[in-house]
Amino acid sequence: MTQAQLAQGTSPLLAVRDVSVVFGGIVALNGVSFDMHKGQILGLIGPNGAGKTTLFNCLSRLYQPSSGDILMEGVSILKRPPHRIAEIGIGRTFQNVALFPNLSVMDNVRVGTHARTSSDIISDSLRLAWIRRSETGVNNKVREILAYLDLEEVAHTTVSGLPFGTQKRVELARALAADPKILLLDEPAGGLNHEEVYVLGDLIRKIRDERHMTVLLVEHHMGLVMSIADHVVALNFGKKLAEGTPAQVQADPDVIKAYLGSKDQ
């Protein structure tokens, strides 16, 4: 909380400004605005079809908003192609895990460093000295991240054979390998059991604190969002319903009506 509060006064790291997305005649997002400050864990909640994933896909440049703007450190990201989002410090994980199934854990995480390294096919084929140096750097970094996320034992295992929970950690490791400033997590608790969800919550907080990241958490699991988020944005039918601390949002009558059903939940 303290980090986030300190940052409140400064300009936002990421600003979503009046973003609308229209598919055919359907308005998936309608003028949504919010700010993300450095060091924050921002929870984005809402019932199915609220527009969470649409917004997420705008941030990762898979969808182009019909109007509005998204600013990263004051600069619009809407002119960037999807593959040039990682280099400005936006990393992501996927809802149902999108790893490279035939590659080892280590190679998956190595791909994560792609945006932070450079090479060309001729130098790569000849394995020139500067390529070898760069690869040594990559390997050291990958090993550090694998150790950090307790994945050393499976470093050389092909990911398709790993349990789902482990695959989720590999995906997190891959995202961290790109040194993101903002980590976008798309329903990280999906498919995890009760205990795993709380371990994950601690891990997200630990990553934010120790690796100085800002986290956008799109999540169905209310318990997780309410326990780790500093700030919550609630969407419904493509509109922002409420915004504030977890307690404020939880107490908001509109949110209760749309999402929580009754006060007891």
Binding site: R92, E135, T157, S160
Partner: protein, 339 residues
């Protein structure tokens, strides 16, 4: 691509899944194979040496397809077109412009890289079977393009072009066939090593990331369009060099040597060798060169049918090709060592 996926998934307990191992041979095996490739021709007749040369350059063409399909996950039934372009560039440069053969090959490689890179642009919009169809169209068009009238002064039209076999240099007292074999061996080994390096590098990882999941690759900063076309270019470039080597070895190029049949043979070689496993390329090449002869030895009249049966047996018994045999061999060796 499911075949390649299965292999890797299954192989994960047996082969130590160190990426290098998954793609190459162990040091011991490499030394044995290299020694065999160096020594066997010394004791072989000229015709056998010619066949071994053929094995090397067809293996190179299979390797090129393996980089494209096994590496980046794109299908191609159009490899015969790049092979033909490479062969013709080499033949025309050697015969019409008297340029030494060893200078023609890099030119063939670079021009075919360009052709593949350009062809990769429209192919970006296609995937899977549709890409296979587009490349099929390229393969079908190529023989007729090579017959075009206005190219005839250089290409010799339907008649084709005879290529002079180079002599061994530096006054070496070895036959032309033997010299050509060792020359081909050096070129093929060099390209093999570069290819292994490439697939193990940042670029190679980008290829494989695209093969496995394009959206995730893009989110990691991989320029999917660029790497897909690069894979096409690299594959076409290597295929062009293989075609050039074939023109020198066969001493003849004609449009109808580069039909869709050749493309399908290369595809077959890749599957038999093991998709995505580079050393398998030479096994695949051996299959497409020698198995038709074996089939003919069994039955002259029904050689095609016998070939079909043999192919069917291979697919049935070792669906993942030579790679599967290699993994089985490794397991067996491990068990013998333990007992």
């Amino acid at each position: 691509m499911s075949a390649a996926e299965d292999v890797v998934a299954e192989g994960n307990e047996t082969v130590e899944a160190v990426p290098k191992r998954a793609m190459t041979l162990g040091t011991g095996t490499s030394v044995v194979v290299l020694l065999l490739l160096l020594i066997v021709p010394v004791f072989a007749k000229n015709f056998v040496i010619f066949q071994l040369t053929q094995l090397l350059y067809l293996g190179l063409a299979v390797l090129a397809l393996n980089i494209l399909t096994g590496g980046s996950g794109q299908f191609s039934l159009g490899q015969s077109a790049f092979y033909g372009i490479g062969a013709y560039i080499t033949a025309v440069m050697m015969e019409q412009f008297n340029i030494p053969y060893f200078l023609c090959l890099p030119v063939a490689g670079v021009l075919c890289f360009g052709a593949g890179f350009l062809f990769g642009q429209p192919a970006l919009r296609l995937s899977g079977v549709y890409l296979a169809l587009a490349t099929f169209a390229l393969a079908t068009a190529m023989p007729q393009l090579l017959k075009l009238n206005f190219l005839e002064p250089w290409t010799g039209g339907v008649q084709g072009l005879v290529v002079t076999k180079p002599d061994a240099p530096f006054g070496l007292k070895i036959s032309q066939d033997m010299w050509l074999y060792y020359f081909t061996l050096v070129v093929v080994l060099a390209i093999y090593i570069f290819s292994v390096n490439l697939l193990r590098s940042r670029s190679g990882r980008a290829f494989m990331a695209i093969r496995d999941n394009e959206i995730a690759a893009s989110a990691m900063g991989v320029n999917v369009a660029l790497y897909k076309t690069l894979a096409f270019g690299v594959s076409a470039g290597i295929t062009g060099v293989a075609g050039g080597l074939s023109a020198i070895a066969v001493q003849f190029v004609a449009p109808d040597s580069f039909t869709i049949t050749l493309a399908i043979q290369l595809f077959l070689g890749m599957v038999v060798g093991g998709v995505g496993w580079l050393p398998g390329s030479i096994v695949g090449a051996a299959f497409i060169i020698f198995v038709p002869n074996i089939a003919e030895g069994i039955s002259k009249g029904l050689s095609g049918a016998v070939f079909g049966v043999l192919l069917f047996l291979v697919i049935y018994l070792v669906p993942h090709g030579a790679r599967q045999l290699a993994i089985m061999g490794q397991q067996l060796a491990g068990r013998l060592r333990k007992s």
